[in-house]
């Protein structure tokens, strides 16, 4: 592989990390510099293409789906409204009667197991991704982005768009989930090789998974200090309802 080949790959697949490509880049300063410039340009491209998604679009679609049968039959709007009220009341009664929720920890643990690659520090743009992810879950990161962040993406937790982050701790990678509008405190369930902590985060929840010996409280404090929610859950749901009937 020569410099020309490397540059062609950089331009057609900037995130390509094939061993042959990396080997050349490590040994060629010109190509190193070229790749750095390409990756910087790629960041700008990503930011430019990251148009704002209409607020609550996902919920609006899920809401539409809940009233549409697989046969594509759609209900008149008044029936949909009536059904919403009935479902909400029924759900409220059930939740009140049951008085407990399914444990969130096994769900998060399964999620981590399904995608172990996220533990590797492969994202060069984790801080920028964090900004996007926070925006998409209705929150924001205030202040400097964490230097130890290596991964940030949007993930569904309990059907809710949540932040799936990885930061480097003292003992290795620590996975952090930020779940808006969900009180998952006192939900525990994984006690083997990893430490787990689930706490309130200004009305949402934060769950941290780290290796034994890791001081999760320090990392949690970092998030408690910098994360805030732009909208309350009630406000978001109201916005979705309005979007549905606009």
């Amino acid at each position: 592989m020569n410099c020309l080949d490397v540059r062609r790959i950089c331009l057609t697949e900037p995130t390509n990390r094939s061993p042959r490509l990396l080997m050349h880049i490590y040994s060629c300063k010109c190509c190193q510099q070229y790749r750095r410039r390409i990756l910087e340009a790629e960041e700008k491209l990503k930011t430019a293409m990251d148009v704002t998604v209409p607020e609550g679009l996902d919920r609006k679609i899920a809401f539409e789906g809940s009233f549409e049968k697989p046969s594509a039959h759609s209900w008149p709007r008044w029936q949909a409204m009536a059904a919403t009220v009935m479902v909400s009341v029924a759900l409220g009664v059930i939740l009140h009667a049951v008085g407990s929720k399914p444990n969130v920890v096994p769900e998060l643990a399964r999620h981590m197991m399904e995608d172990p690659l996220h533990m590797l520090p492969t994202q060069t743009d984790a801080a920028q991704r964090l900004a996007m992810v926070m925006r998409d879950i209705g929150g924001q990161w205030q202040g400097e982005y964490p230097e130890n962040l290596t991964h940030a993406r949007l993930c569904p937790v309990r059907g809710r768009a949540s932040a799936h982050l990885v930061v480097q701790g003292e003992r290795g990678p620590v996975t952090v989930f930020l779940i808006p509008g969900t009180d998952a405190r006192n939900e525990n369930g994984l006690k083997q090789a990893q430490l787990v902590a689930v706490s309130d985060l200004h009305g949402g929840s934060i769950a941290l998974f780290g290796y034994e010996g890791e001081n999760l409280a320090v990392i949690e404090a970092q998030f408690q200090q910098h994360v805030s929610w732009k909208q309350s859950l009630a406000a978001r749901q109201e916005a979705i309802q309005l979007a549905r009937y606009r």
């Binding site: 020309l4 080949d5 540059r7 062609r8 331009l11 057609t12 697949e13 995130t15 390509n16 070229y34 410039r37 390409i38 340009a41 790629e42 700008k44 491209l45 990503k46 930011t47 430019a48 293409m49 990251d50 148009v51 704002t52 998604v53 209409p54 679009l57 996902d58 609006k60 679609i61 899920a62 539409e64 789906g65 809940s66 549409e68 697989p70 046969s71 594509a72 920028q128 900004a131 996007m132 925006r135 998409d136 949007l154 993930c155 569904p156 059907g159 809710r160 768009a161």
Partner: protein
């Protein structure tokens, strides 16, 4: 909530944003993009029983969205949108990139023909490899590489001095 509905809601939560961004760059119209995403996901809901393989879901959604876009485009014979008018202001990410540069870059992307814009969107938004784009668009890998190369050249030429020299394309690679 049935397991099918739960799967649907998980899918919607995970993929709506990227599908919207992809749809937006496909049609360059925020309202049409919203309709396309909604129609695509509701179509997925109707066919949830066929969407067992979670890995194939994204590809299925992209194909469906492309078809729906082609169908609407054919039916309505949409005029080519005026680039300047269609740029959507996005004040939320002012701190991520200088507003002026970002809007300039958006205009460059908007001005690309769909054959260049689409593979670029698949790669930048979904992180697709050349091979995956080639499968999604039913093109040869070399055709995809050429389109990605030209797309980047046209967009980046305005920003990166000498970042995309013509020789790279002319000497047979991309």
């Amino acid at each position: 909530m049935s397991s099918k509905q739960k799967r649907f809601e998980l899918m919607v939560g995970a993929l709506t944003d990227d599908l919207y961004r992809y749809a937006y760059w496909l049609c360059r119209d925020p309202h049409l993009a919203e309709d396309l995403v909604q129609e695509t996901l509701l179509r997925a809901w109707r066919f949830m029983h066929q969407l067992r393989d979670s890995k194939a879901v994204k590809a299925w959604l992209i194909t469906t969205l492309r078809r729906e876009h082609a169908r609407i485009y054919e039916r309505k014979r949409l005029d080519i949108a005026d680039v300047d008018e269609e740029i959507v202001e996005d004040p939320q990410s002012q701190d991520v990139l200088m507003e002026v540069d970002r809007n300039k870059m958006r205009q460059q992307i908007m001005a690309l023909e769909i054959e260049y814009r689409e593979p670029l969107a698949l790669q930048v938004i979904f992180g697709y490899s050349v091979k995956e784009i080639s499968a999604a668009l039913e093109l040869s890998p070399s055709a995809v590489m050429t389109r990605l190369f030209r797309a980047r050249k046209r967009v980046l030429d305005q920003f990166g001095e000498g970042l995309v020299p013509d020789e790279l394309l002319q000497e047979g690679g991309a």
